[in-house]
Amino acid sequence: MRSAPEAAYIVWILISTVGVLQALAAYNGWVGLSFFGRHPRLGYPFALLVIPASYVWFFSLANRNTPGLEGWQLFSRFALGALCGLLVALTLSSITSHAMTARQRSAPGADERGLDSLRNETYAAIVARLGGQWLKRIGRTLEGEMARE
């Protein structure tokens, strides 16, 4: 089991990363990453509220000028917290912006590769679309093999 200071550190990183990602969704106009559907710009006030609040929470929990995490521990726990924050942001935005992005999927540029795809669809929709493409490809391969036999 993780110690309390370590868990607090990871939660702090998770929350602040979610805040950063909402600000970035607002900046890039990535509706698919935003928690606010049609209004991704609400990500700015959300970030302004959540990021400082997470700092205040972490530093008010305990005196941080004592021996604690250092070096590699800080780096690896940051990576873990940031990854969890990314997963939380992708999952929540996939739920909250699902209806919005479903309408936009037929818009020009909907098939962009990379992060810009989040302008038109949620990450869950991207995963579903990729999964569908893979299933079709596997199906075609199997059909081809059966026809050869």
């Binding site: 550190y9 970035l24 972490f58 000028n65 995490l69 940031a82 590769r113 990379g114 992060l115």
Partner: protein, 197 residues
């Protein structure tokens, strides 16, 4: 050599001697000095940089900077570890009467590891993105200054740490643009295939 050390101790006394003059400033510096506040802020800026760019090409350039920064931190840390194995300098509070606003670390004072980490991040990013790099340099300087102000490092320690960090970043960028270029491209390629780059 001894005159440089004497100047270092004199400068330390001047900076650390300010403690107690402005209690609010002391509070600010003792909040900044720990391993968490500045390092996490630096890391969040670097994390955010992965997702920023006016065009896909600009974003890819920033993503390279993020990879260089992580690699730079590894190289800088290795330099510090190697140095600590060969040389030990006692902390200021071990030999002088200081105004200590932090706990007493036991590792070598020279070079400052926190300064090395902060300057490795800042230098690696600055070589690709000047604006983000300047912001990180400002945070790194504040971090280094706080370590002296709070009595855990001599000025020369943080200068040594900054040089170790900058050297680590320069090596990382050099490696990232030559020998490790396929690895850097591979990481970005995988990210792009996962729609995360």
């Amino acid at each position: 050599m001894s005159s440089i050390v004497a100047f270092d101790v004199w400068l330390f006394r001047q900076i650390n001697g300010f403690v107690g003059t402005f209690p609010l400033f002391d509070r600010f510096m003792s909040t900044v000095v720990n391993e968490y506040l500045i390092t996490v802020t630096l890391s969040l800026v670097v994390f955010g940089l992965w997702f920023v760019g006016a065009s896909p090409a600009a974003r890819q350039s920033n993503q390279r900077a993020v990879i260089y920064a992580v690699l730079g931190e590894v190289v800088a840390n290795s330099i510090v570890v190697l140095n600590n194995a060969l040389y030990y300098r006692p902390r200021p509070f071990a030999t002088l009467q200081v105004n200590l606003l932090f706990y007493e670390p036991t590792d070598s004072s020279m070079p400052s590891n926190p300064a090395a980490v902060a300057f490795a991040f800042a230098t690696a990013v600055w070589m690709v993105n000047r604006r983000a790099g300047a912001l990180l340099y400002a945070l790194a300087v504040l971090f280094a200054l706080s370590r002296v102000y709070c009595g855990v490092h001599y000025p020369l320690d943080v200068v040594g740490g900054a040089l170790a960090g900058a050297l680590g970043a320069l090596i990382a960028v050099r490696l990232g643009r030559t020998v490790l270029a396929p690895v850097v491209d591979g990481i970005i390629g995988v990210g792009r295939r996962l729609y995360l780059a």
